[in-house]
Structure formats: C-alpha cells, structure tokens
C-alpha cells in the first residue's frame, strides 16, 4: 500500500519545495512572533524578535484572563455563535427539506429568490439594517446580532443542506410516505438523523462566521458589557496604544481557542467549501 502510493506520487521538485517553505515561513512568522511577544518586554521585542523570551513570566496573560474584558467578551461571542448555529441549522434544514422533498407550486422560484443571497453583497445592506434594527428595538442585543447573522448566512446554509438532501435515496422518503408518515415526521425522524455530517459542516461554517464577525456587532452593539471579542480586542488595543507585549498577549489568548477549534473542525470546513462552492 505504502509503496504503491509512493510509486504513484509524482515528485515535487526541489524548487517547488523551496517556494512552499518560503510561503510557509511567510504565513507562520507573524503567528510565531505574536505568540512569543506576550512574554517579552517591550525593549526585548526590538533586540530579540525571533528568539525565545528571557523569562516565561505569565503575568500579562494572568492579568488579562482575570481582567474585566477577556472572559466576558469571549462568552458573549460564544453565546452569539451558538445561537446563530442552532437557529441557522434548524431553519436552513427545514427550508432545504421543503425544497428537496416536497413538490409545490413556486418551489423553483422561491429557491432562486433565496439563492440571490449568495450573489449580493451583504455590506450594502448594513446601513438600512442598522435603521431596521433600531426600529425593531434590536440594537445592543445579542438576539439582534443572531437574527441578522442567520439572515445573511441562510442562503449558503440552505444550499449546503439542499445539495445533501438531493443525494439521499428517494426510496427512503417514499417508503416513509407509504407508511403514512407526514413530512414533518419524515424530516425529524428520517432525514435529520441521516444528515449529521452536513449539520456539522453548516454548524462549523456558521460558528466561524459568527465568531469572527466584526462589522455587524460594530454597528449593532454599543455597550461594553455586550461586546463580542473582536470589538473587545479593538477597544483593548485603543486603550493600550503601542504597549505591544500586552496587546500580543491579548491577541494570543483570543486566537488560541479559534486555532484549537479549527484544527479539530477543519475537515468540515473543507467539505463545506468543496460541497458548496465547487459542486454547487
């Protein structure tokens, strides 16, 4: 097995390897210096940029974790992200189920209408969205952000579910129909249990999108207590100016959970990219 694959593999030339390693260095060095920078003194950053820090004193990290900003803003982001994931998974799977398995007049039209969301730029809607949320009393609330985020991601989520549902064997649905099973029960007892992989993909996508989102919370939220972490870190950076060791420590702590999550979930992200983008 091993020899077979080795024989089939065409050699990557030395030149290719060198360019890959240069690109890898280009990608990693900023991460590496950020992670170490939190342990260094400000003068040390200049004289010893790439070496290990003189001491591994975690004082800055401890101060940030114990501080008033880090943990609350991370929890806010977590709350918003989980809310977005649950709501978008539920709504998108129901809608995709209706488009994929129920025949009705206007089905194609409504599907195309929803897919307009894939083409049109969300940034253009942000200003009237602010007015709309103000009029609906959703400003400065996590619910407001969750709803808006789900609305903006629903097209892509429905597309991913739809592509998956179309692949399910039709006999399965027909058999359930024969047994006098209603669509709602088919959706809940037959389809959903079969589509755990796609739920994971859609969930990861919405989670990452929500976790990283900046423009929408920036416009909707205005009290510190409700800030998600991207707003919190911008405020922290504004407060400490160029006290880089402190900012780098905050950055490291903020991106660490995301990197851990990414390493665990990357295959779902990639299958979403390929399932939604390349095949769709």
């Amino acid at each position: 097995m091993a020899t077979a694959s080795r024989k089939r593999r065409p050699a990557i030339s030395a030149f290719q390897w060198i360019t890959l390693l240069v690109v890898a260095a280009f990608v990693i060095v900023p991460f590496y210096t950020t992670a170490l920078g939190g342990f260094k003194e400000i003068g040390e950053l200049r004289v010893n940029p790439f070496g290990l820090p003189q001491s591994w004193d975690p004082a800055r990290f401890a101060e940030i974790i114990g501080g008033p900003r880090y943990v609350p803003s991370l929890l806010n982001s977590l709350l918003v992200a989980l809310g977005s994931v649950v709501l978008s998974t539920l709504l998108a799977s129901m809608t995709a189920f209706a488009f994929a398995h129920i025949k009705f007049f206007g089905s194609r039209f409504l599907m195309s209408y929803l897919m307009l969301g894939l083409l049109f730029p969300s940034a253009t809607a942000i200003l009237p969205l602010f007015i709309k949320m103000r009029d609906l009393g959703l400003l400065d609330s996590h619910v407001g952000i969750i709803i808006a985020q789900v609305a903006f991601s629903i097209s892509f989520s429905v597309l991913l579910f739809y592509n998956f549902f179309k692949e399910l064997p039709k006999e399965l649905i027909d058999a359930a129909r024969m047994d006098n099973c209603g669509y709602i029960r088919i959706y809940w007892y037959v389809t959903l249990p079969l589509c755990l992989p796609i739920i994971a993909t859609v969930g990861v996508f919405n989670f990452v999108g929500s976790w990283n989102s900046f423009l929408l919370p920036l416009i909707v939220l205005n009290s510190d207590a409700n800030y998600t972490w991207p707003l919190g870190i911008m405020q922290f950076q504004g407060q400490y100016g160029s006290d880089w060791p402190r900012i780098l420590a905050f950055l490291t702590l903020s991106i660490l959970p995301a990197i851990a999550f990414f390493l665990l979930a990357q295959r779902y992200v990639i299958s979403g990219l390929t399932g939604g983008a390349v095949k769709g």
Binding site: A24, L119, S122, P230
Partner: protein, 310 residues
C-alpha cells in the same frame, strides 16, 4: 403522435392527482418549513437593500419622517467626494492583486499540495490557517509586524542595512502593505478550492498522459488547469466580490488612514455614511456598490455560460 398525446395526458393526470394529494398533505409542513427562512431573509437582507435605494434619494439623518427628496444630489455628492475616488481605486487594486497575485500563488501551492501525504497535509493546514483567523486579529498581528518601532519590519530594515518607513503611516506604502496582508489572509482559501478541484480529476487521465510521455508542467498546463476551470471560476467570483466588500481588515490596520488614503468602498461607507448618520449619502454609496456587484455577477453568468458551452 398518438402515443405522445396519451403520454402527456397520463402525465398531467398523474400530476393533477398527485398535486391534490400533496395539497392536503403538504400544506402544513410547507407553512412550518418555509416562512421562517423566507421572512428572515426578506426582512433583514432584501428589504434593507431596497431601503438603501430609497434613502439614496433623500436627505435624512435617521430620525423623524423621510420627506426631504433631493433627487440624485446624494449620488453627485458621493462621486464628487474627495475620498471616494481613492476608495474606488483602492478597491480595484484589491481586485487586481487578488486576481494577479493571490490566485496564481494559490494555484502554485495547490498543484504541489494536491497529493496526499503527512507533510503535505501539515503545509495545507498551515496555509489555510490565516483564512480561519478573524480579520480583526489578522489586522492587529500585521499592525505589530509593520510597527516602525517594535515590529518586524524595522528589523528586516536593519538586516538589509536600510531604514524602513512606517509603512502604515505612509501614503504610498500603506497600499502595498495592506495587499500583502490580504494575500497572507486569503490565498489559502483559494488554494483549498483549487485542491478540491485537482483531487476530483480522475487519476487515469493524468496517468495516461504521463505514460504517453507528457511532461509534468505540460500536464499541469494542458490537462489539470483546464479540467478545474469550474473551481477557478468560483474562486475568481469570490475573489472579486470579497475584494469589493473588504472592510474588517482595514479597520485595525489603518482605519482608512493616513489622511483617508487607504479607504475601500465599504470603509468609506462606514466612515462617511454610517458614523456621521448621513443616510442619504450612505444609501447612494450602497447602491453604487450594489450595482458594481450586480454587474460583476451578470457579466460572470455570461462568462460562466460561455465556459460551460466550450
């Protein structure tokens, strides 16, 4: 002929019967399954875009009734605004850099990394990592890298024996500096799309070409790249629309500065429309951006169509 008509008749008969059956059985599920998504999408995505169009013809500060109709005055204001030209130019530079530097880099990496092995998997993960990172975090990391006192750029300058400018405070260097960050952040995304395309090429095709003695780079040029045309099409589309909407990464890096020289269309909209609550002005910017994106999408459909015809 007769058989066709009976076939059609039978077909409609079945359809009618099935529709009646469906109506009874499927009305309730449809009423539960469809409205939540459709209403959410309409209220929070479609209507705001329509509103932007309405606002753009009025002078309004966001409070009270919208009465002061000004025709195309807001559009004139936007187009004559000192910084709008810069913002459009910058957005177009982002598009150009994405297409001419980022995508070729992504393709170069994808061709090498579409094989399967452990070291290749590690590299692929590394290259994809910046894409998963929040734009704000990426912006702050690079703000540090570029910092003229404590960052990595002055150290590079020391090594080269020159003094590096404070790139983010320099009206000329700020644009190339931002382009480097954008390439760093997004090339991994395009690489993944290309890899997915490359991996779906049947092995026999490449194998057959190799047995015929076709050189490696000829295979890439004449077989692999043409076969992943649809992945390239998708990637180009994302690159253009993403570039036109660039916002998050600019704010932590420069906030549009120095002296408004690094605005993109969306940071311009934020700075001059939203922060100052000039809804008519902001609406006009939104509409112009929307039209630009629609033109891209429509032009794209034509190109896409032509690609699929071939």
């Amino acid at each position: 002929m007769a058989s066709i008509t009976t076939g059609v008749a039978a077909g409609t008969g079945v359809a009618v019967r099935r529709r009646r059956y469906m109506d009874r059985k499927s009305l309730v599920p449809l009423l539960i399954f469809l409205p939540p998504s459709l209403i959410l999408f309409t209220v929070f995505v479609v209507l705001p875009m329509v509103d932007a169009g309405t606002f753009s013809f009025f002078e309004w500060n966001g409070y009270g009734p919208i009465t002061n109709f000004v025709g195309f005055e807001n559009y004139a204001d936007v187009i004559n605004h000192r910084n709008f030209g810069t913002a459009v130019r910058n957005s177009l530079i982002v598009v150009a850099v994405s297409l001419l530097i980022q995508l070729p880099l992504a393709m170069w990496c994808a061709i090498a990394l579409s094989e399967r092995s452990v070291s290749i998997n590690i590299l692929r993960t590394i290259f994809f990592l910046p894409f998963m990172l929040a734009e704000v975090a990426a912006g702050l990391i690079w703000k540090f890298v570029y910092d003229g006192n404590y960052g990595l750029l002055p150290i590079l300058g020391d090594a080269l024996g020159t003094k590096m400018p404070f790139v983010l405070a320099d009206k000329f260097w700020v644009i190339p500096a931002i382009m480097l960050v954008i390439t760093w952040k997004y090339f991994g995304f395009h690489m993944m799309i290309f890899i997915a395309g490359l991996q779906s090429i049947p092995n026999e095709v490449v194998e057959a070409a190799r047995l015929d003695g076709v050189k490696k780079w000829q295979i890439v040029r004449h077989i692999k790249i043409p076969m992943i045309r649809s992945a390239i099409v998708v990637s180009v589309f994302f690159a253009i629309t993403g570039a036109l909407q660039l916002f998050d990464i600019i704010i932590p890096l420069t906030n549009g500065g120095p002296s408004h020289s690094s605005h993109t269309i969306v940071t311009f909209l934020y700075q001059f429309g939203i922060l100052r609550m000039k809804l008519g002005f902001g609406g006009a910017v939104s509409v112009l951006l929307f039209i630009a994106c629609v033109i891209v999408a429509l032009a794209y459909r034509r190109i896409l169509f032509r690609v699929e015809q071939n």
